[in-house]
Assembly symmetry: C2
Homo-oligomer: 537 residues x 2
């Protein structure tokens, strides 16, 4: 398989042929009149990339690559605006050098060199950031910029079967990690949408949210201990199931997005692979009732594995289900016991709110794993296809992007209305047609994590700027309605303005102070989370 | 009711009469030959307390108390060593002044005055610290020391029924808080052993652990947002059910033990009061099998409300149950659905490991609340009596104290052995007789939180020093065996040596930097978490 240098995933998996024809037809139906002419990505050789400003010293030469494709591929993430810019041949920022450490000592050596030479270091896991987290945008004041690709730190080092924990290197990709745990019957059970192409270190640095709806789904809660290389030394927390000794050291590095140190490995809590699974799709005629039912389940203590409410537009577009009130995709899983009873309680809550279950409950256990062909699985593979389809549509002038938040239940209606109004106003101001979809990716007792999608007919050559305008409008709507600017996509560089609104100022003061103490020369991921100026001495 | 100035809780609730006689007899039986002569606490007027070094300015006069009893009561926590020293008439440290703010603005004004006058400020909730967290021990270099008692900030300000959250002031005591939520059918459901006499702010500042064994039991996980007054401004996080925007601001203040700011209020996640409850006591012949069963339940995803394994000594002493392998106290609760099925799965796991349930499953629902008279309730009231009994025994030369930790399952046997060996060695070196008990207060998929008790026959007048010697030995055993120095009692001043061993140095660097940035004159709780010298400019 060949990783695409400009877009999502593997070249061989791109949307082509009949799939592309069908996708185009669906979009043409949704947005009649859109210009869906397919444009081709440029050749790598057509790109204009500034010459590298730096060279690796002899001692690091074996880690270094100055290859053009490497530099370009490490110069952007996988947001819509990243893909579109690259499709247009725009390489706004590329690192001068890609370095691929083989050991933790290599990481230490790279940081030493960079600290001594005023070179910016951008830690790079799978490069799937959708918030500009890996783009060396603010490095003009540095002697150079290095992309520190952790991909060679890719082993499960140790497994503790008794405590159900595994020591895993930070550069390991999702599928590799699961494959290494599978012979032990174990799983990390962390499946973000980027799963195939993102790494443990990236998940930790950005506080990734997994596929599951409740309880242990955030990577934060699966961490037993972490090792982090900072410019002033290595931080290693103890392997502990819980501790009340001062503020949590791990929680300082979780979400630090590479500005405080480079995560090299972690002891992660793993689980026995689920044996019992049940799933159901609940249809509603009224969206408010669907939200109330979802809230009821979130507050029930039943802890479903899936509890994904698709609004009517999302349900129609991505699950092919026409309803007036949306669809709630429910699932329970366990490695220990059957889960029919919690499903029956959850469905009772749905019925109390007018939910219908026309297809009944789908049941599966590990012995009949292959028999799982329900809607949930269809949805899951469509979920993994979404980024590929996004790329195909991006090359057809479409604006296709998502954004996400979390808010308390009392504010959800207002927040959703504000997002719809802001998007509609932006569409109008741009003179384009578009739709907004919404699903809940996670639900908490005190609120949902709404995930919005935008599908709009853009103008070829201008879709990045058009999206930026829409994004600014909906981000401000989220922020003004009391939501967070990100529930699991991270802050990076793109979310900075709204993150700054949201973050308590004394916390910003403390974060800047921590950054100065741990990274005194300000080399780590400048421009992320805090002003690059605040990061420099 | 009158709060005791020297020991736990209310004077009227002290252990006296028949209860005291029975307690003494039980201990005499356990430790034959112990001198159990009862000593009386001194009169307040007999105490030698240095004159106050400072006076409140006119503007703060209404908040201030220089009353001797107030100063003495605010000069210590509720550890065994605190109670014993006070019993002996030793007032090692007392604040010069007690200040009781009525509003958040009062807190701001106090910090302003103290920052300008080089006065140390020790935030004080209920004063139940068992780690020296409220004792003004390191304030000789300051112009004075103020105990900032938040007790007047004691209201539930707002309830959001839809999101199930309540805005609660930091000085509110557990019972008051529950009483305010009860008319709404809600509960915070956070019941640390100190519940009656500790406050929300204290729980947050010290990362308190609740009574429940799994899932939402730590106060950390119940926080939606917090307001904290720091010397450089007020920090207020957004009310969010979840967020991935940078490192969590709340997690920086949780566990900061008053060194970064003063928590004034928080939006807390509350729950509907449980309606269904089942409980069972499982007896084991073999402790290793009991541990294995407990681990099985912790890793099952069944999420019991109680899962408290008492070792054979603990079971005999505190539950009156003779076994060779210990007793597992199991309970499930729900406001939403019956919980018989998860109990039956959990008991199946116990039976697979040789557990017996001679008394069967006790069931209760809200309509028959008064009928709950099972062993769990007996244990619960004995649990709340323990600190009173500790005080009675402390006055009879007994050394009675607890310490707690958490470790991964693979290390538990070794850790427990190390604790027993260290305690035995300390008893021998002191020439005293003693026993060690162990229970699990919380269980996680990757490890238990063992809670140890010490009962030893001390020497009147020297029990504080004798305990300090035992404490140093067992603390080093915990630390060397990979445990945390505290799972939920906090660090304060007493745990500093082992906390320093455990804390990653780069985290310490960042914490000191955050402290300097938020508290530039170093007035907040000097000596807690970091060196007082590191706190001063």
């Amino acid at each position: 398989m060949t990783r695409s240098w400009w877009g999502w995933g593997n070249v061989e998996d791109a949307v082509t042929g009949a799939e592309r024809t069908a996708l185009t037809a669906r979009v043409a139906n949704l947005l009649p009149g859109a210009d869906l002419t397919a444009h081709e990505p440029p050749e790598l050789t057509e790109l204009t990339v500034p010459a590298a400003r730096i060279q690796a010293p002899e001692s690091l030469a074996e880690l270094a690559s100055g290859d053009l494709g490497d530099r370009v591929a490490h110069g952007h993430g996988q947001a819509f605006r990243d893909v579109v810019r690259t499709l247009l041949g725009r390489v706004d920022n590329a690192p001068d050098l890609v370095l691929r450490p083989r050991t933790e000592q290599d990481v230490v050596d790279v940081l030493d060199w960079c600290a001594n030479s005023a070179i910016a270091v951008i830690p790079f896991g799978g490069g799937t950031s959708v918030v500009g987290g890996v783009e060396p945008r603010d490095t003009a004041d540095y002697a150079g910029a290095v992309s520190l690709d952790l991909g060679r730190l890719n082993r499960v080092v140790e497994i503790d079967r008794v405590s159900r924990a595994a020591r895993i290197q930070a550069g390991m990709l999702g599928p590799d990690l699961e494959q290494a745990l599978r012979p032990e019957g174990l799983t990390l059970r962390h499946f973000p949408q980027s799963f195939e192409f993102s790494t443990l270190g990236g998940w930790l640095a950005t506080r990734a949210g997994g596929h599951y709806a409740t309880v242990y789904t955030h990577i934060d809660d699966m961490v037993e201990s972490m090792r982090v290389v900072t410019p002033v030394g290595i931080s290693e927390s103890r392997r502990l199931p819980g501790s009340g000794a001062g503020p949590s050291p791990d929680r300082m590095f979780l979400g630090s997005e590479g500005i405080l140190g480079v995560i090299t490995e972690a002891w992660m809590r793993v689980q026995v692979r689920p044996r019992w699974r049940v799933g159901a799709s609940v249809l509603f005629d009224d969206y408010a009732a669907a939200v109330a039912a979802t809230r009821g389940i979130a507050q029930s203590g039943l802890f479903p594995a899936n509890c994904r409410l698709l609004d009517p537009v999302e349900a129609f577009l991505n699950a092919g289900t026409p309803t007036s009130g949306g669809v709630l995709v429910l699932g329970f899983e366990s490695a220990d016991h059957p889960v029919d009873e919690p499903m029956s309680w959850a469905l009772q809550i749905c019925r109390d709110h007018g939910g219908r279950v026309p297809d009944g409950v789908r049941s599966a256990d590990a012995e009949h794993d292959q028999a799982r062909t329900g809607a949930a699985d269809t949805w899951r593979s469509s979920f993994l296809r979404m980024p590929y389809q996004r790329d195909a549509l991006a090359a057809q002038s479409m604006i296709v992007e998502t954004f996400e938040t979390a808010c308390t239940w009392d504010r959800f209606d207002e927040l959703r209305d504000a997002v719809h109004a802001a998007a509609a106003k932006a569409f109008e101001s741009l003179g384009i047609a578009g739709v907004v979809t919404c699903r809940f990716t996670h639900v908490y007792p005190d609120g949902p994590a709404p995930y919005f999608g935008i599908y709009a007919a853009g103008t070829w050559g201008r879709t990045a700027e058009q999206w930026d305008e829409i994004k600014a409008a909906v981000s401000q709507a989220l922020s003004s309605s009391g939501g967070t600017i990100t529930h699991h996509h991270a802050v990076g560089r793109d979310h900075r303005p709204w993150y700054d609104q949201q973050r308590p100022e004394p916390f910003a003061v403390a974060l800047r102070a921590s950054k100065s103490a741990l990274d005194p020369t300000g080399i780590l991921n400048p421009g992320v989370l805090i002003d690059p100026a605040a990061a420099r001495p």
